[in-house]
């Protein structure tokens, strides 16, 4: 061990490369989408000058109020409902947020074959389980509320 070089492992470098790409894409997109939103180039669901009436409400009341006053959906927009609203300036910002939140899942997925190739079953299983945990969190199946 003492003669080894301080070089990151193959899976660590692969993870880092994917993480870097996803992070850069997410950050650039959030700046662009926020600019499109606040400049009014893409109109939002909640008008900018009315937003302050809503942001001090608990999340459940906020969603109900936004739905009743603007969207008129059958249910308030939770889970992946934002995908149907990407044409709106405020909801467009959810895309880069989802990329930033989702890149870790992808990073784990790409290192699974490396662990498989190396025969490191424990880490391969850990990586697969982590992907499943993050997928569960991202799925929208987990509901919480006051």
């Amino acid at each position: 061990m003492a003669n080894e070089k301080n070089v990151a492992s193959e899976e660590q470098l692969l993870y880092a490369t994917w993480l870097e790409k996803g992070m850069l894409i997410g950050l650039v997109l959030i700046v662009i989408s926020f600019a499109l939103y606040v400049t009014g180039i893409i109109s939002p669901v909640v008008p900018l000058d009315e937003l302050s009436n809503y942001w001090n409400l608990p999340v459940k009341d906020y969603l109900t109020a936004v739905n009743n006053n603007f969207l008129h959906f059958d249910h308030p927009p939770t889970g992946w409902a934002w995908l149907t609203l990407l044409g709106k300036g405020d909801f467009l910002n959810f895309l880069p947020i989802a990329i930033l939140s989702g890149i870790t899942m992808l990073c784990y997925a790409v290192i699974v074959p490396v662990f498989m190739k190396k025969g490191e079953k424990a880490y391969m299983i850990m990586a697969i389980v982590e992907v499943l945990i993050l997928a569960l969190a991202a799925s929208g199946l987990l509901k919480a509320g006051h």
């Binding site: 061990m1 003492a2 301080n6 070089v7 990151a8 492992s9 899976e11 660590q12 470098l13 993870y15 880092a16 993480l19 997410g26 950050l27 959030i30 989408s33 926020f34 939103y37 606040v38 900018l48 000058d49 009315e50 937003l51 302050s52 009436n53 942001w55 001090n56 409400l57 608990p58 999340v59 906020y62 969603l63 939770t78 992946w80 405020d90 909801f91 910002n93 959810f94 947020i97 989802a98 939140s101 989702g102 870790t104 490191e120 424990a122 880490y123 850990m126 389980v129 982590e130 945990i133 993050l134 969190a137 991202a138 799925s139 929208g140 987990l142 509901k143 919480a144 509320g145 006051h146």
Partner: protein
């Protein structure tokens, strides 16, 4: 001379941050003013400025952005605590994502150390996020205040060890191959860890708290990795930072899917804190870390105390249903 200039600039920056927090536009709006009394762009602009200074202070103070963000924005801005926690997680997540690739490539963050820990912490962060969104706002503020004051005590008392003595790696860490080489300018050493199972169990609590309060968890990760499990300090700090990108991801999804994300709060905060972090890294070379650390402890003590006070006040109001206004204020947690 240069150091004094930077320290002076920092003091001035802190004064601006304190003034912004305490000045009437924010606090009075949060307290009572009609929500539409100020132009819509004032709040994101204020957020951008405050989070910019927060980003500088966070880097210099050696803490994550989330731990400063949630108590300060939750305590002094008009946003509901549900949205502040969601944004806090995304702030901590973005900082970790930005730092992660470099730390992994430099082999300062250890993927092998992070993976088992992340598995525990990210699962528990989901539970914490769901608890956090289910609890009434005043209870969250109360618990947040207690937690922040606890963090102040940890920062005040915790010791650090550059190279902890780990005479023998435990069976689990040996089986998982958690070891590495740490190189500093004057020293190259092999590192290994021990007490892996107690460490993993501690991350159950850390994960729940990170998800519940949207704080990030560097303040807890580092002492556990360094003092309990015996990883060298720099490896612990780097792995902790990278770890946040996994822990906070799972909790962030829960907030995102439950609608607790407002782009007008998240985007300026992310941009402000990241710009501040870039500037902070440059200032770090010449600033006095001890002064900044004391400043961070002071800010956290103040913000934690306010959160605790707000929680107790709202709880008292909730138990005394004297008027509609009181009930409504308590319900909204403001």
């Amino acid at each position: 001379m240069k150091e004094n200039r930077f320290t002076g600039s920092l003091r001035a920056g802190f004064a601006v941050l304190a003034a912004l927090l305490l000045a009437s536009p924010v606090t009075s709006w949060a307290a009572a003013a009609p929500a539409d009394a100020t132009a819509w762009w004032v709040m994101p602009l204020l957020l951008l400025v405050v989070t910019f200074f927060m980003g500088i202070i966070a880097v210099l103070g050696g803490v994550g952005g989330g731990v400063l963000y949630v108590p300060i924005i939750g305590g002094f801005f008009p946003f509901h605590i549900d949205f502040v926690r969601g944004a806090g997680l995304l702030v901590a997540l973005s900082g970790a994502l930005a730092a992660g690739p470099g730390l992994l490539k430099a082999n300062l963050a250890s993927l092998r150390l992070a993976m088992p820990v992340a598995l525990v912490a990210s699962s528990c962060a989901i539970v914490g996020a769901m608890f956090g969104l289910a609890l009434p706002a005043h209870i969250v503020k109360l618990l947040l205040g207690v937690t922040i004051l606890g963090i102040v005590v940890i920062m005040f008392t915790a010791k650090k060890s550059d190279f902890p003595d780990v005479p023998k790696a435990d069976a689990l860490s040996t089986a998982l191959g958690i070891y590495g080489i740490y190189q500093s300018p004057d020293k190259t050493m092999n590192w290994q860890i021990h007490r892996t199972i107690p460490g993993l169990l501690t991350f159950i609590i850390i994960g729940v708290m990170a998800g519940m309060f949207g704080l990030g968890a560097g303040w807890a990760n580092v002492p556990v990795l360094n003092l309990m499990m015996g990883a060298p300090l720099k490896i612990s700090v780097a792995t902790s930072k990278f770890l946040l990108s996994i822990t906070d991801t799972s909790a962030a999804w829960v907030y995102l899917n439950n609608g607790a994300v407002i782009p007008m709060l998240v985007a300026p905060s992310l941009i402000g804190i990241m710009l501040g972090s870039f500037v902070g890294v440059r200032i770090l070379k010449v600033a006095k870390p001890s002064f900044i650390r004391w400043m961070v402890i002071g800010i956290l003590a103040f913000a934690g105390g306010k959160s605790l006070y707000d929680g107790i006040k709202a709880m008292n109001n909730a138990s005394r249903p004297t008027s509609t206004h009181t009930q409504e204020a308590s319900h909204h947690g403001k």
